[in-house]
């Protein structure tokens, strides 16, 4: 009986003690650290600049991305391009491009032109092993036409690869598609 009373008091005490220890503090919001909300490709050739922007501020929330193309590309001009990845849920916006460049061996940007577009794309920068990275690139439109220009960032692809997504593998961090026009 003595035992039982002892046990009972322990149980009651522990329950009361633990129940009272909760403080009613309100949780803090989490801003996604890794999320890429914004892709900006800036292409410059002889004074003319074309900017391609895809912005999706609610990440995987229900809102669609806002995609804009500032103008058309001229056939025969070589555009020097750079791609910027931003997390704009943070203030100021975090530049994810820096992380991608720091971990260049684990990343690669791929560029795709759909059937209606005839152009030449070259990588403008490499990782530490001499394999292409692609945050810098160049685009030379060869003939007039219109179609989709896709920019894809892969995490942990096979490197080196043959330049196709199938061979590279890895995970897609970014895939954005812009409707562009090459004109004479």
């Amino acid at each position: 009986m003595k035992n039982l009373k002892f046990i009972y008091s322990i149980i009651v005490l522990s329950f009361v003690f633990t129940s009272c220890s909760n403080d009613d503090d309100v949780p803090v919001p989490v801003n996604e650290e890794e999320i890429i909300t914004t892709v900006i490709a800036t292409l410059v050739a002889e004074g003319s600049t074309v900017t391609l922007t895809s912005r999706d501020l609610d990440g995987d929330g229900p809102d669609e991305a806002d995609v804009t193309v500032s103008g058309d590309f001229q056939v025969g001009l070589t555009y020097v391009g750079s791609v910027q990845f931003l997390n704009e849920t943070e203030n100021p916006a975090e530049d994810i491009t820096e992380e991608v460049e720091e971990e260049a061996e684990e990343h690669q940007v791929f560029f795709l032109l759909s059937a209606g577009l005839d152009g030449t794309i070259n990588y403008g920068n490499n990782d530490g092993d001499g394999n292409p990275l692609g945050t810098q690139f160049s685009l030379l439109p060869n003939a007039a036409g219109n179609g989709n220009f896709a920019i894809i960032l892969r995490h942990e692809p096979k490197k080196p690869n043959d330049g196709t997504l199938d061979d590279a593998g890895g995970e897609t961090d970014v895939i954005v598609t812009f409707q562009v026009t090459f004109e004479e």
Binding site: L4, I11, P29, D173, V174, I175
Partner: protein
Amino acid sequence: MKYFFMVVLAFLAYPTAISQNCDLTLRGTVIDMHDGTPLAGATVVLAGYDVAKITDFDGNFELTGLCTENYNLQISHPECTTRAFSVEISENTQSVFKLEHHLEELNEILIKGSTYYTKAETVLENRILLETLEGYSSASLGDALKTVSGVSSLNTGNTVVKPVINGLHSSRVTIINNGVRQQDQEWGAEHAPNIDLNTANSITVLKGAAALQYSGDAVGGVIVSEPAPITLRDSLYGKSILSGQTNGRGGAFTTTLTKSYENGWFARFQGTAKRYGDFEAPDYVLSNTGVSEQDFSVNVGLNKIQYGFDAYYSLFKNEIGILRASHLGGAEDQVVAINSEVPLVIQDFTYDIGTPRQDVTHQLAKLSGFYKWNELGTVRLSYDLQQNERFEFDVRRGDDDGKPSVDLELVTHNLELSLESDIGDAISLKTGVMGNFQENFANPSTGVRRLIPDYKQYKFAFYGIADYQVSEALNAEFGARFDHTYMDVFKFYRTSFWESRNYDVQFPELVIEDFGNQLLTNPELKFNNISATAGLSYEFGEDYVLFSNYSLASRAPNASELFSEGLHHSASRIELGDLRFNSEISQKIMVTAQKKGSRFSFAVNPYANFVQDFIVIEPTGVQQTIRGNFQVWEYRQTNARLLGVDLDASFRILEDLTYTHQFSIVKGWDTAQDQALINMPPASLNNGLQYVLPIKQRVRIGLESSYVFRQNEFPDNNFEVFLPETASFETVDVSTPPPAYHLMNLTAGTSFALGDVTKLDLNLKITNLFDTSYRDYLNRLRYYSDDLGRNLLVQLKINY
């Protein structure tokens, strides 16, 4: 004599004497209810008096000096369930008392102080015996449970194994570990029960919600895991099992040591360690599927017939690698992964566990005590505290590499008071009341939005179950339970989601702070749930029993169903819950016809389960994000109907040759949308032969064939995705079940006596004997890789 001594001690508190004017005699015989054999050494206690007798070799005892009145006898035997009898004495009387012989139930009697060992009287209890459990010593709880017909598993790879009872799982299955309801974030499909199988001596599966003393929301069923009994003698005993296997190139070691005293005190230590590297399919290594697990438990207590207490602590810690090739970006990656014959990442074998992986720690501390009042019954009070900590590590970039993506801590306190009493000879009553407090904390430092929000949950419940022994053959059972749940939740919603769901119009009062793109809300939810059960069991002759049971279960939606909102990386899909859900209510009718017998036995168990407001998650569209397209899966409520049958049979063809058979089928239908329910286990067929070789050293050989049919009823959730490489739309086939498969397993085992008490068992087991490549419909990684190839397991067990 020791039992006599023990009982006398227990009754010293009752200062009464037998009247001197009485001279009547009761002569009794105690026999085994099953086969009528006399029980020697049974303790007969004359309740309320300082008298106890031990039966002789023929099971006889004699009580003299009795008066003309009603006496209550309590008869116990070390290998039987203790029972109470009422005897009316008016002359010299001769009576027979029947006890039920159940060695493995000793623990129940002593720890729970209960005269009842059954969890539910009118549902067939499917018990997994120790021998089977020991065979799975190096595997998981879910693997061992699959030996029960009607139980399958929802897997993530081969190491995260979640039990499915008659087609239902997760929050719909209640798991009772050591008398405590397991609270280990069981809502998640990729969260396996955090229980070390080696702590169990016996596991019982109830395919329904009839055991209301445990829960009222077991729409699927209840799994009860119980520790080994403690013998009441001065003894030190234990067992160790060492296993090694080829697939995974690892093994497990488990050991249990128990010290017991005749005066009722006992202490036990149990520990397990497991380590495996990458597992292998027939044709390739399943990269990053290693496991590392360490568990231990300690238990001390005091057992008397009349009172006792028990203190228990257990720690379960495991780290499980998740197939590297299953970690994907969006649907574009999914197309490639599904269309590929082999996993997209195959590396050399390693013991390293990289990302993705789960790292889970579960701790349980429990204190319980009971006291038997003769008039009132057995009162039992218990308190338990569980802490469940879950980390999930994903493949991440930059500074976040090595930081968990999921960091959840779930703490649950539970206080319970129960009373088990007899009203006369025929009625026994279980009643109880419980209070429960649970707090979930999602650590914000992950840098990933919370999958499950911070919440506090308060629960209060009470129940009553009456068991009425109408006649020797007919038993009736009725029960009811009420649960009240209050949830106080702090949840951040994306503003865009809040508005797209129209919550801004329906629940503007819930918003307590606006962070621009996110809103902090404080939903307070209340659920009242009523559950009930009624059933009959009837014995025909010696061998046949018919069970019939109706159970009404009512389950409040869980945090995941209510509050999911965002990308679930491990499933590569966006999952959306709904704040407005109400409880789902299930009505299950089951009938079981059982034939017992040593030569031929069977059990056939048809059932029908109708669930109103069944919560199901299913695809509703495709969401475009910068990472690509993701399929959106939304929880919704519908009405469901599950019909099925489980069949078990065993036939002893020759003295040493036995044939066993199991068949299970379940059909799940969404009656509101008139389509099949997703993830219903396909029909399965198991046939086995066990043979003891006719040589001096007895060697047991077993051959098992396991055939799993293709699931032909499934909803079509395929969707199309645009691929920029080919500028074409491609179908993502996430629906089509894999083909049927057939596996053969071979076992062999023998025992050696090493002295008086020490026994060595050597067992060998080959699973997937023919190294068959197969995929299982209920494996969440079936899109990406084959299941396990051949495995050779060698197991050494020593009892001492």
